[in-house]
Subunit: 261 residues, 4 copies
Amino acid sequence: MLMTSVLIAGFAGAMGQKAVDLVNGMADFQIVAAFSPQADRNDPERYNLNDDVQIFNDLAAIPDQAADVWIDFTVPSAVYENVKFALNHGMRPVVGTTGLTDEQEAELKALAKANHLGGLIAPNFGMSAVLLMKFAQEAAKYFPDVEVIEMHHADKKDAPSGTALSTAKMMAQNRQPHESNPDEVETLANVRGGDYQGIRIHSVRLPGYIAHEQVLFGGTGEALTIRQDSFDRGSFMSGVKVALEKVASLNELVVGLENIL
Amino acid sequence: MLMTSVLIAGFAGAMGQKAVDLVNGMADFQIVAAFSPQADRNDPERYNLNDDVQIFNDLAAIPDQAADVWIDFTVPSAVYENVKFALNHGMRPVVGTTGLTDEQEAELKALAKANHLGGLIAPNFGMSAVLLMKFAQEAAKYFPDVEVIEMHHADKKDAPSGTALSTAKMMAQNRQPHESNPDEVETLANVRGGDYQGIRIHSVRLPGYIAHEQVLFGGTGEALTIRQDSFDRGSFMSGVKVALEKVASLNELVVGLENIL
Amino acid sequence: MLMTSVLIAGFAGAMGQKAVDLVNGMADFQIVAAFSPQADRNDPERYNLNDDVQIFNDLAAIPDQAADVWIDFTVPSAVYENVKFALNHGMRPVVGTTGLTDEQEAELKALAKANHLGGLIAPNFGMSAVLLMKFAQEAAKYFPDVEVIEMHHADKKDAPSGTALSTAKMMAQNRQPHESNPDEVETLANVRGGDYQGIRIHSVRLPGYIAHEQVLFGGTGEALTIRQDSFDRGSFMSGVKVALEKVASLNELVVGLENIL
Amino acid sequence: MLMTSVLIAGFAGAMGQKAVDLVNGMADFQIVAAFSPQADRNDPERYNLNDDVQIFNDLAAIPDQAADVWIDFTVPSAVYENVKFALNHGMRPVVGTTGLTDEQEAELKALAKANHLGGLIAPNFGMSAVLLMKFAQEAAKYFPDVEVIEMHHADKKDAPSGTALSTAKMMAQNRQPHESNPDEVETLANVRGGDYQGIRIHSVRLPGYIAHEQVLFGGTGEALTIRQDSFDRGSFMSGVKVALEKVASLNELVVGLENIL
């Protein structure tokens, strides 16, 4: 197999450094360039990069086709320009940075098509969360009665979690809106949780917990439960690895890791 | 050990029949009498009773001290008169029938005291539920951040379950009222569930499920979860067995199985 | 939509009666015939069948194309002859009876092909178990480190359960055999469970439990768990319903409900 | 309330530093001294200590009654001498260091008694683990059929975990040794796990997992499950806090946090 060359944008940040470690450990991939506006260009070792990796502080300085793949773990304000740059210079993007609007995503997809480049934009690279959503969507065909419980640390500011709501939306595509128990009475207000087209969502907030989600399906005489636990954001790298292994075969810019599994 | 004699009131019903099976299987206990207004007095075998068990259709016909223990699985409209009768005729009551008012309970406790008889009234004889409540109450001293999730079949008419609310009330005695996450924002209404003094309660209703409850505690870097599953009301008999083994040593009429463990 | 006509073989047994109830409740399906060697041919109501359903005691008496679909919940000693009969007489089989050998299955598949008939043989019609196996097989591609815990009532005679072993075999097709923790030491013998190509299997046997299985996947910083609970064999009917809805579109005799989802 | 003064032995280590943070945050406790052979005596701020905290490098230099309480998070080779020193110089020990032999524990208990000092030695200060063991021991009285499943990261070298074995031993004190399912047959060797007096123990080892334990009880028609998750060793400090609040009222040197709850 040919070696695939990689440029990592945002390599100096926490997620970028995990991406560096990941690619350094993959036999068929090689980091050849790295981009970060503030990083020290003369000290690749400090970032766990080989001596011959070219570090760029300036987007405009990066040459055409500097790498086969552009991994992006930067910031919301930069991601759109970065990905546009990659697509205009012959690099396939694998993007974990959040913050792209629907319009920007559509524009980037069109640009990828025009340039005959595939790639992936994934708001969540955690394989356990991605598989949970995929399986839940499929199970909802057979088990239309379903509830979601997500559990996070007590200082999470919003509820429900984005992943829980995404899960409900994906399942809603495969079932008719309905209530499992339309005539019930709440003797303590709100115990039945939030309601998304008849899918009840419950958010638990407790110290100690990290990020967890359960989807509970019930049918006559049986139950199916899918659960994922994220203990550490290092978990995202398993999904980045899957994306790197598949990106060469993608013919378009795909949104959502679940769509390339 | 002396044999303890037992009278079973409501022996022809579903729970009464389970009680018959239970006592028949206990070496040191013996059914000597049985009471049910409608039962056939001449066919004890039909009810899985020995030939020499006396069947009564009429409360007034039961003699003084007909048995050491009066097990009651009858109906809400009869239980008060039944237990009063037992206490006035020298029998220690073990009561699984619901429907006694607070006033009636108080009156019966006074009557038991006057007659120097102990006994037990238990709305829930399921050992797993009783232990869950007991442990949860104790754990709340050390883990004041706690939520309750109860799960029942989809045709349960009310939410939350009585046991879930009892659990919250028992825990509330051992913690200060407070919210684990006071500043959070719900982006989907009610996902944070019901609120009992800062203990969030979540009710899940799905076909297939039977009767289940989880109590989730969180603290710095750790979590404790207690769960009980009731698959079948036959589970109540384990609690009745515990009550029978302890009733001789009780000096008062106790309410709540957890209080004699 | 045209009405699909159904013959139920083994209609008088426990599973057969559940199948009768199922089909009676499906708008586009109608029971037109029923087969059981011992049943009373003159009393369809006793079996919850309409008056005009033809009851047969003898296989040879059933006419060609007596129905579109042949549902089989009979006994291991009869199932092979039954399904051969169905295929030779223009009926598509949906088979929940166990006991077919690999050779018999192969022969029946060839016969179906020769007669241009599709159908389904499913040892397990429980949708939660079938989806668990399907999802576990797919997840094993991304999470090769996996263990299985199955939990059954205490009087189950063998361990592990057939479903747990099937799950392991299906996952083994999607991962390389390996141990997650090859150098470990057991200080209490056998705590690490059974070993199927590096997939550890644990069997729990406790009174109260019914039939449950969990598949636990672990990866860097995250975990994925799939669990199914069978509370009641009535659960099988959800899978039979799925099979009935799909059987008209099958071009071959498929083995395994998961293969038509 | 009077302020309680505290000396922290091993304050420069990871656990010692967590203890420093804990005590700094407790209104009624004050760190007055700290002991570590290697620490820099002239830079208390570096260790998050107030300027007036006395740092000692040498056990012999610590004066009599330097503090009310001696917290010990040192090393197995030092803990015995440390605790003996504390008891001989009027300080109540709260010990999280492991490595004391049964003989050393007995000797220290005698010394505490002779000096009229209470204290606590706790191999596990995680409140969730301690409560799990305590509750499991009590539940075993009512549910003698029980199994343990513990789950740890894949590089744990031994199985089962110490806590799982301790849990089994504590439960064994409250039940008769017996097998739940004596006649079963294993069709895959060892799936029924390890056996401690009929309590089956199962060890799961997977990447991503941290340290978790479940105790599963089963009875007729019901189940009770107690689970604890340790996500982070910072969790130990909740137990140290409980110990500090109770140590003044202890009349002896107690072993095991569960024994002072």
